[in-house]
């Protein structure tokens, strides 16, 4: 093969420096918001800046954020799972049932994880196997999974979890750092590495940007998506363990409505709902912002629904403002 005589023009690897890419990124914006919320909260309530209180506040978001990490990957790949809260219910019910059978703590954990995986596999099989749209599949399984919990439990509750089981939702690793917070941090790192530093993560982005193109480039699209559903199921199982442990009991209505909160958190974290872009640090920051906003409002005894107006408006605003900004700046240039 002959090299062109003139010699090819050298193309630089990158035009912008890492610092340029960092400033003006979504994550930087979120970090600024997080710091602002932190200061406002500190000013607004004398109780905010207390290690134990801050530690308690983390429980408002850790479980949802764990699911949020997996959901972020799933949404980047162009799919969605609305059944996550129902998986929590079903996994929790299964653990409660296992308690009745005399399982010990490690067997309970295994049960929770297994149910999460099975539910994820069921979603994944319907979406990738039958090629159904994930939004409607998971609206269906959302009813199905929780429905099974209702069939099993009806108006009853499972209690009597072994005392060692309480560690996952109530235990502390060191000082004010709870087990959940530590798990959240560890999972954040694992997911950040998975998405941003591995071939698997690259495949997720490629699929989200163009599933056909990814398939034609030799990526096993179906397998990757199936794994993402498994992962989301697994994380829901882990969240179920934490939440069940924290509540010390199971009812079929457990974690009701969490699916939309998780999606909100992920979108706020800068994950494009249409797939293809977003980062894990963004989700971490969004979780912290949402947790601090709810906790701050809670300290002022503002009803939860007023917070949800704020979160709803924030959700629209963060998506709308950059677009409005782009429109205005374009208008002035022309």
């Amino acid at each position: 093969m002959s090299e062109t005589a003139a010699g090819p023009r050298e193309i630089p690897d990158r035009l912008s420096s890492p610092i340029q890419r960092l400033t003006g990124s979504w994550e930087t914006l979120l970090l600024a918001v997080a710091i602002a919320v932190f200061f406002v909260n500190t000013m607004a309530s004398p109780y905010f800046l207390d290690p134990w209180n801050l530690s308690d506040a983390t429980f408002n978001f850790t479980e949802k954020a764990m699911i949020g990490f997996a959901m972020a990957l799933l949404i980047i790949s162009g799919e969605i799972d609305l059944s996550v809260a129902s998986i929590i219910a079903l996994a929790s019910t299964a653990m409660g049932f296992a308690v009745q059978l005399g399982f010990d703590t490690s067997a309970l954990v295994a049960t929770g994880l297994l149910v999460g995986l099975v539910c994820g596999a069921f979603n994944g099989a319907l979406v990738t196997g039958l090629g159904l749209p994930s939004i409607v599949v998971t609206i269906g399984t959302m009813s199905l999974f929780r429905g099974i919990s209702y069939i099993v439990l009806g108006d009853q509750a499972y209690t009597g979890y072994p005392s060692s089981f309480a560690y996952f939702g109530q235990g502390y690793v060191w000082w004010v750092f709870s087990f959940e917070l530590a798990l959240f941090a560890a999972l954040a790192v694992i997911f950040a590495v998975l998405l941003h530093k591995t071939n698997f993560g690259r495949a997720v982005y490629a699929i989200g940007n163009n599933p056909t193109g990814a398939l034609f480039s030799g990526i096993r699209v179906g397998r990757v998506k199936f794994i993402l559903f498994l992962l989301t199921g697994l994380m829901s199982g882990i969240a179920a363990i934490c939440l069940t442990s924290r509540l010390g009991s199971t009812r079929p209505s457990i974690a009701f409505g969490w699916e939309l909160e998780v999606v909100t958190m992920v979108v706020l974290g800068g994950i494009n709902i249409l797939g293809g872009s977003g980062t894990i640090p963004g989700v971490v920051l969004a979780a912290i912002v949402m947790g601090m906003v709810t906790f701050g409002f809670g300290l002022l005894n503002v009803p939860g629904i007023v917070m949800s107006i704020f979160i709803g408006a924030l959700l629209i605003a963060v998506i709308a403002l950059p677009r409005i900004w782009r429109r205005i700046s374009k208008g002035t240039r022309a």
Binding site: I139, G147, L260, G312
Partner: protein, 327 residues
């Protein structure tokens, strides 16, 4: 053959509903008494009305998760108006409900149209915002039966020719939407925009505006349902119809409306809603624990989409000229 089956997707769903009703009748003959069937229809009327609005939105490749919140907010506002001024005639109340609902729908539509924000994000946001506003409007208080005026409560349950007004309104909405969707340029534009948004531009259709109108329709119907709901159950509070948005989407999906846009029919949406309505009404009657209901409707959704997907699956064009040519 296959094409016929696809075209009669609605017919198959109707058959499924009939079969199910027949099955219930074997355990509880009273279920198929005309009076009871009328009752089931009446009970499903709000779901039908909302499914019509959701259908046009989904046709344009969007989704509206705020319909239930819109319903609740409009319901709360008209109930509040009724408690403050009990003498306002029902006609005006309905007009207020429809316009208010349309306004809330228009807000969704504007965000989708002018700012190009993904519909699921917009309506996820407005869903919580509208619920929150109810709390602010009502200060968290319930409005109870005794606070509402008699005409206000009476209207949806008044019977005309043996059917309650609520049912008649649903029938009116079905007729109206059947005409709008089939016979008006806007109705056909819903299909065009959802089926092929790029191409729609070339035919002079304003994609954004068409989506906006779909949201306005969905909003107007939510508003109307808001009044009917509050009047029928004679109560208004923050959480009414909580989670109903997903049931409405489910009705559309069961009725064969494609979430990818461009495919769907009024008959399908109505039948999808009726399917859920029959299930819901039959369970207590045939003595199945109500705890089974959620799992049953979940399974119904999954089966329905799997079936629809199979029917709609691009049959692939057949290149090979087989048997009929060879002989």
């Amino acid at each position: 053959m296959i094409q016929n089956a696809v075209k009669s997707r609605e017919a198959i769903l109707a058959l499924a509903i009939l079969a199910m009703t027949g099955l219930i009748a074997t355990r509880f003959p009273g279920f198929i008494r005309p009076a009871n069937l009328a009752n089931v229809f009446n009970d499903t009327a709000p779901l039908i009305i909302l499914a019509l609005g959701q259908m046009v939105v989904i046709l344009t490749r969007c989704i509206d998760l705020s319909v239930a919140a819109n319903l609740a907010l409009t319901g709360m506002i008209v109930a509040t108006i009724n408690t403050v001024a009990p003498d306002i005639p029902i006609g005006l109340i309905i007009a207020i409900a429809i316009s208010l609902g349309a306004l809330l729908g228009a807000f969704n539509g504007i965000l989708v149209w002018k700012l190009d924000i993904p519909p699921i994000v917009v309506t996820l946001g407005t869903m919580t915002i509208y619920r929150g506003i109810i709390f602010l409007v009502s200060e968290g208080q319930w409005i109870n039966a005794h606070e509402m005026s008699e005409p206000f409560k009476h209207f949806p349950r008044a019977t005309i020719a043996g059917l309650p007004v609520l049912s008649w309104i649903a029938i009116l909405c079905i007729t109206l939407f059947a005409v709008i969707v089939a016979r008006t340029p806007l109705g056909r534009a819903f299909f065009a925009v959802g089926g092929n948004p790029n191409a729609a531009v070339y035919t002079g259709i304003d994609v954004g505006f068409t989506r906006f109108m779909a949201y306005v329709f969905a909003g107007a119907l939510s508003g109307l349902t808001g009044y009917l709901w509050v009047a029928r159950y004679a109560v208004a509070y923050v959480d009414i119809a909580g989670g109903f948005e997903l049931e409405v989407v489910a009705a559309c999906v069961i009725g064969g409306v494609s979430i990818a846009g461009g495919i769907g029919s009024v008959a399908g949406a109505v039948l999808g809603a009726l399917f859920l309505g029959v299930v819901k009404n039959a369970l207590p009657v045939i003595n199945i624990s109500p705890f089974w209901q959620l799992a049953i409707s979940g399974s119904a959704i999954i089966i329905a989409i799997a079936f629809n997907a199979r029917a709609q699956r691009q049959k692939g064009r057949v290149i090979l000229k087989t048997a009929e040519h060879a002989t």
